[in-house]
């Protein structure tokens, strides 16, 4: 298996012999699976393929030339930075080219104006450390500090720190895209100058086509450079402590502090989220899944199970803990003010402060994603919903109840209600639900749960995040907007008429549902007889996956 040899030679001329390969061993290294995220799903088995070749460009010009060569040879490609998104980040056709952005690691910080300019190979770990040293910080998404910041901001980009910092699309400033036809489009102030400090476009803001609530996983081109807004932090640089992999950040006393509070009820946790936002204090507030506490304590899978199996539905249902961070952005006096207000709120709600480690293991430079699946081998955040508190608080029981139907193969979690937090100073309630499974078992139920939860959200009028990347577009499209899918497919047609940029996204999950027999009963929404692909893609789909 390989790509067209003339295309290969042309790309080799661009990136140099050392930066392109079609060696089967190298291609195997880019298979989907080892990451844990969505590992062993039906989607992975049905939809992903080994790449035909991998190339590693260094510059925007390299990327542009590669994309133009792909257009010339009708060669499908997948932009790939750190590959966190499991099977979604991998080829879905035979003989695709992976354009691995890891060599693109230019990094520039403008500390006074609170932004950095990076290429897609730069990961959050580097960024956060540089930010700390300049009195700033960024949100490191749940994917971990080892993920590409560009990829993360194009697709997700939040954490409990979003309580202050806000939605990810607001932090994207000037940027540069190589569109699927090889044209370079510069966004924001980069369109007008070499200075990327401002994100809004001249007139309508084309950042609107980069992503929605979440992103399009590279199916509308490749971002080669992005200026990212950072946020003012506090002046003391947190110190790393411990020995890898058991490291954490020692938090500066009187400047940054996590505090755990035992609360009397779930309602009091919900109220704490609302009241903290209304009082406009704090740096983060979150209620995490109970089993995360066991993950955090365990050093291996066996230890996790030893801990977790001691829990019962009753113990989980009666465990009420809320975790709050306060940050002395202004001064130690402001830190004290926040603490006093927080204490007032917690006291009014009947909560009690617990002794909490003066360190951060999870959110400033987290590597949670590397340990999140240790207890079963596979996991996924089946969805994120971000809207009001009303919605966030209702989602827990809904997901819990639906999950019962699919347990097993999903890991029993004592009916835990999942994770919620507050974003944008209490203007947004956030809910996330994670599921775990053993990929050696029959995982059809996991695939079905994914879609069944999307259907549940449509029924309830809940607003899920992964509308364009992880759910069937013909299921969610007519429901939301309505008909947002028509605009995405329209953009795909005008910017990528040959569907070369990560095909068949944004219809990949639709393809999965019509090709996986175990999805047919649940896939009861109307779909067109033919998907709107060009003939060339229809042939490639048939070659890779067979005829429908």
């Amino acid at each position: 298996m390989s790509i067209n040899k003339y295309a290969y030679e042309a790309i080799k001329a661009v990136v140099g012999e050392a930066n392109i390969t079609d060696d089967p061993a190298d291609c195997m290294g880019y298979r989907s699976g080892p990451g844990g995220y969505e590992s062993g799903t039906g989607y992975e088995r049905v939809m992903t393929r080994l790449p035909g070749a991998i190339c590693m460009p260094r510059t925007t010009k390299d990327v542009q030339e590669i994309v133009k060569i792909c257009a010339r040879y009708d060669l499908a490609f997948v932009p790939y930075s750190t590959g966190f998104y499991g099977p979604r980040s991998h080829p879905h056709l035979d003989d695709e080219l992976i354009i691995d952005m890891k060599r693109m690691r230019d990094f520039e910080i403008d500390a006074e104006h609170f932004f950095i300019t990076v290429q897609p190979g730069v990961v959050y770990s580097q960024i956060q450390q540089e930010c700390f040293e300049h009195g700033a910080y960024v949100v490191v998404g749940g994917g971990g500090a080892q993920t590409s910041a560009v990829a993360n901001l194009l697709n997700d980009g939040w954490s409990p720190l979003s309580f202050r910092v806000g939605l990810p699309q607001r932090r994207i400033l000037g940027l540069e895209m190589v569109m699927p036809d090889g044209e370079i489009v510069k966004f924001g102030s980069l369109a007008d100058s070499d200075d990327p400090f401002w994100g809004e476009g001249i007139g309508p803001d084309l950042r609107g086509i980069l992503r929605g609530y979440t992103g399009l996983l590279g199916c509308l081109g490749i971002c080669t450079k992005m200026a990212i807004k950072t946020l003012p932090f506090q002046p003391v640089v947190p110190e790393m402590q411990g020995v890898s992999p058991d490291t954490s950040l020692k938090l500066p006393e009187k400047r940054v502090k996590w505090i755990n509070f035992t609360m009397p009820s779930l309602k009091s946790i919900e109220d704490a989220h609302i009241m903290l936002g209304n009082a406009e204090v704090g740096g983060a507030i979150t209620k995490v899944p109970t089993f995360w506490r066991a993950i955090a304590k365990a050093s291996c899978k066996e230890e996790f199970w030893d801990l977790w199996l001691k829990e019962t539905e009753e113990s989980v249902a009666n465990f009420f803990l809320v975790r709050v961070m306060i940050i002395g952005f202004t001064s130690e006096e402001q830190f004290d003010y926040d603490y006093n207000v927080l204490t007032d709120i917690i006291t009014e709600l009947g909560g009690k402060e617990r002794r909490t480690k003066p360190s951060d293991e999870s959110w400033f430079k987290n590597a949670d994603s590397a340990g999140m699946w240790l207890m079963t081998g596979s996991y996924v955040s089946v969805d994120y919903v971000m809207d009001s508190f009303d919605q966030a608080f209702k989602q827990g029981p809904n997901y819990r109840d639906l999950k019962d139907k699919y347990t097993p193969p999903l890991m029993p979690d004592c009916k835990d209600l999942g994770w919620f937090q507050s974003c944008e100073m209490g203007h947004l309630g956030y809910y996330e639900y994670l599921i775990y499974w053993d990929q050696r078992e029959d995982t059809n139920g996991m695939d079905q749960f994914y879609v069944d939860s999307a259907k549940m959200n449509v029924r309830n009028g809940a607003y899920p995040a992964l509308l364009s990347s992880h759910q069937p577009l013909y299921l969610t499209g007519p429901a939301y907007g309505p008909n947002y899918h028509n605009w995405i497919l329209g953009l795909k047609k005008i910017f990528d008429p040959k569907w070369l940029s990560h095909p068949p996204l944004p219809l990949a999950h639709d393809e999965f549902c019509r090709r996986a027999a175990w999805m047919h009963d649940i896939a009861d929404w109307p779909v067109p007889d033919e998907f709107p692909y060009p003939d060339s893609l229809k042939k490639k789909m048939a070659a890779a996956h067979g005829d429908i």
């Binding site: 609170f114 369109a191 952005f329 001064s331 809207d387 009028g461 969610t476 605009w487």
Partner: protein
């Protein structure tokens, strides 16, 4: 085709305007942009009526010009190719105020006065631009990306969801309001992003070329319990910029503005005579900002902010003279505090019109430390063209903890004089070109600016044209604006 009859069938004859005097009033606004009168104006009362009007316009290739306010500032509502004005003033309902999720949802015709009065009765407020006209549409100002004076909230943008009638006539809700069954859904419209694409980004800054927005939701905040305004008069802009770089990232204060003596005098004065007197006596520049005690422990919050400020000034910026009032101007503190927290009363002459009756604004986004350089450019162009620099209003609006700013120059003039408009336009456009050449970033291409701006941003324009063509293949939505 009988336009009036067709529109009357959709919106009712009482909501179709054919009176020539009224139609003529749409052919100009407070800007220097001039166009022709529309063929008719229609005032729909429902989203469905808007949708029918848009479909009718598509079928008949008739341009539509959406307007929401009774007063227009930038020329984008002046018909460039004839057509029908779609006047949204009947969409004047405030649908909901949600104090738990702290958001408000309201129609396109809701004015700043109505919204702020209604919220104040609930103990809530919205962040706002500097002294928006009380009768202006709140929704329009947010679509136009008017820069807000409050810089402390990291999220920056208060806009949440919207409902829009796209140029094909389809009704669409952006953000989490896109959820099925909204507003009776789980989702309350608090999230602006998505679905699938960030549609709201395409609607903002579009000058009505991408669709007609019928309602919007915004974040709201509790009204602080204590507000204290601080002033710092100064001459040295470089020094004050450095001071702002020092304090604003520390999340001090709420609203911040820097005004030169011309703008500050215009804001404080009630008459031309008073303006002239104030202009002579006010400092060259004044930094003004409000610190607030919020709903919990308000005194403690004020205290830590004041302690921080006094420490920084004592140890690092001794030349900053920070005071609670303007020496020699006893009314200034109360008056400016009111102005920073309220819309400008519709019945009162707008502050920029006080000095001479007419005005023209020129504004752009910049790095704050470049402000002195841009002011020098304006001084230089004014000098070369015999224009009195000392009559130009200068307003710097820090943005996002002062990592950027909007710099605005206001030319206040008597438009009744022969040739005054042309003279001002000439100097305005020369300054625009000089500033743009020097790196000023103009994000809102009104009037003739677009040609110059998009020439430099060719790839952006090409992509924008593709997107516009997808949404509006017949180019019926407000043609002649932006680059369409």
């Amino acid at each position: 085709m009988d336009i009036l009859k067709d529109l009357a069938e959709i919106a009712g004859s009482e909501n179709v305007i054919s009176d020539q005097a009224v139609l003529d009033s749409y052919s100009s606004d407070l800007s220097l942009v001039r166009g022709g009168a529309p063929e008719a104006a229609v005032r729909p009362g429902t989203t469905e009526e808007v949708s029918k009007i848009v479909k009718w316009a598509n079928a008949n290739n008739i341009p539509l010009i959406p307007v929401s306010s009774p007063v227009h500032l930038y020329g984008s509502t002046v018909p460039k190719q004839g057509g029908v004005v779609v006047d949204m003033r009947r969409f004047d309902e405030i649908f909901s105020i949600d104090k738990t999720n702290r958001c408000v949802r309201f129609g396109a015709g809701v004015s700043w006065k109505k919204l702020t009065d209604t919220l104040a009765a609930e103990g809530m407020r919205v962040v706002m631009p500097l002294a928006p006209r009380g009768d202006r549409s709140v929704l329009t100002d947010h679509l136009e990306r008017e820069v807000i004076t409050n810089t402390v909230y990291d999220y920056g943008e208060p806009v949440q969801s919207m409902e829009v009638v796209f140029p094909d006539g389809s009704i669409f809700r952006t953000g989490s309001a896109s959820a099925p069954k909204f507003p009776y859904a789980y989702a309350k419209g608090a999230n602006p992003a998505g679905p699938g694409l960030d549609f709201y980004r395409l609607l903002q800054g579009a000058q009505g070329t991408m669709g007609i927005v019928t309602w919007m939701s915004l974040k709201i905040q509790s009204i602080p319990l204590i507000d204290k305004i601080k002033f710092a008069p100064f001459d040295d802009l470089d020094y004050v910029e450095k001071f702002l770089f020092r304090i604003m990232p520390r999340r001090i204060g709420q609203e911040f503005v820097i005004l030169n003596n011309v703008d500050f005098a215009a804001i404080l004065a009630d008459t031309r005579e008073e303006f002239e007197e104030l202009r002579k006596t006010l400092p060259k520049y004044t930094l003004a900002f409000i610190i607030s005690g919020l709903i919990r422990r308000p005194e403690e919050k004020i205290a830590y902010e004041e302690h921080f400020l006094s420490d920084v000034i004592r140890h690092e910026y001794p030349d900053i003279r920070l005071t609670d009032g303007m020496p020699g101007f006893p009314q200034a503190a109360d008056k400016l505090k009111q102005i920073l927290r309220n819309p400008w009363p519709a019945e009162k002459t707008y502050w920029k019109a006080v000095p001479a009756g007419n005005y023209q604004d020129l504004f752009f986004i910049a790095r704050p430390e470049r402000v002195p350089e841009f002011i020098d450019i304006v001084r230089d162009v004014a000098s070369k063209n015999g224009y009195p620099f000392e009559s130009i209003g200068i307003y710097e609006q820090p943005i996002e903890h002062n990592r950027a700013c909007q710099l605005e120059f206001t030319f206040m003039y008597d438009g009744s004089a022969d040739g005054a408009d042309a003279e001002i336009y000439d100097i305005y456009y020369k300054m625009f070109k000089a500033l743009h050449a020097a790196g000023a970033y103009f994000t809102r291409p009104y009037g003739d600016m677009g040609g110059e701006l998009y020439q430099k941003a060719a790839s952006y324009k090409a992509a924008l044209m593709k997107v516009k063509n997808l949404f509006d293949p017949n180019n019926i939505m407000n043609p002649g604006n932006v680059c369409f």
